[in-house]
């Protein structure tokens, strides 16, 4: 059976396709791609074992990792405990505040 072919359709003029809004697309891509850090800050009142417990419960850290972050908070004044999308970071900060920890959200550099 012979192959039936057709002539290709005439090409549409370039003006038929709107120019993409590159600035909007770049901005959207930037907003969704920038990771955010959840940072826990030191305070001299909250006890270290309490902070360790919170890290284990909230982030599922093993004891060793939780203590490492806790000691970083204690010695360096702060520790980045999570990095990811902003909405999730906001939830973590809220939960950390629910445990009375000093926590902030910041753009990851």
């Amino acid at each position: 059976m012979p192959l039936i072919t057709r002539d290709p359709p005439p090409a549409l003029p370039r003006s038929a396709f709107p120019e993409p809004d590159l600035e909007l697309e770049e901005k959207t891509a930037t907003v969704t791609d920038i990771p955010w850090n959840v940072v826990v800050h030191n305070d001299p009142i909250t006890k270290m074992n309490y902070v360790t417990m919170v890290f284990q419960k909230l982030f599922g850290f093993g004891r060793e990792r939780a203590e490492r972050h806790m000691l970083e908070v204690h010695h360096k004044g702060r520790s980045i405990v999570w990095t990811g999308v902003r909405e999730r970071g906001e939830l973590y900060v809220q939960q950390l505040h629910g445990y009375q920890l000093l926590a902030t959200l910041e753009k990851s550099l």
Binding site: M53, G98, Q100
Partner: protein, 181 residues
């Protein structure tokens, strides 16, 4: 004061033979955990989630409006749980000796006992921590004071606050240990 498991195999805790000095602190725990209108205590419990400037100001405003009320409710719920557990300790009791005096009776074990069910442990941890933070914020107690020896007998209400911070930490420590942390 002694602590034991309520019964074999149970993780419910019982604090018994509580001395008046500590009984007073326990009974007043919910009140001490409430920041009321104190600006420093509120600033500590409800801190800003983002640095100010740029997007931070708008984010912090939204946070204060929409998220902070939820956190306040969370703390209030925990406080209500602790108040219910403390209810059996209410009743007539001679007040503890005022600061600056030492009354041996303040450290004589009583028959009062406090039961903390395991399912309430997180609420207790929260309220104990809230109280420590509120007291410290109100008094301006920081790292330096926390590293000093506790004055005994307490000579002032400030000294008493240091003892409260220390005692609430002790109870937190017990609860965390029993929870396996």
């Amino acid at each position: 004061m002694k602590m034991r498991r309520k019964e074999a195999g149970s993780n419910d805790l019982v604090f018994e033979e509580i001395e008046p000095f500590f009984l007073d602190m326990l009974r007043r725990l919910p009140a001490f955990s409430d920041p009321g209108e104190d600006p420093a205590a509120n600033a500590r419990l409800y801190s800003a989630p983002m640095a100010s400037g740029g997007d931070g100001d708008e984010f912090n405003e939204d946070w204060e409006r929409f998220v902070e009320p939820e956190i306040r409710d969370l703390f209030r719920t925990a406080r209500a749980t602790v108040e219910a557990d403390l209810a059996p300790l209410s009743g007539d009791m001679p007040p503890a000796a005022p600061p600056g005096t030492f009354n041996p009776a303040d450290f004589t074990p009583t028959e009062h006992q406090l039961e903390i069910p395991q399912r309430h442990a997180e609420a207790w941890l929260s309220v104990l921590n809230q109280a420590r933070l509120v007291i410290a914020a109100r008094r301006g107690i920081g790292e330096r004071e926390m590293s000093e020896d506790l004055p005994f007998p307490p000579l002032s209400e400030r000294d008493m606050d240091l003892h409260r911070i220390d005692f609430y930490d002790f109870v937190q420590h017990i609860l965390l240990r029993e929870m396996g942390y």
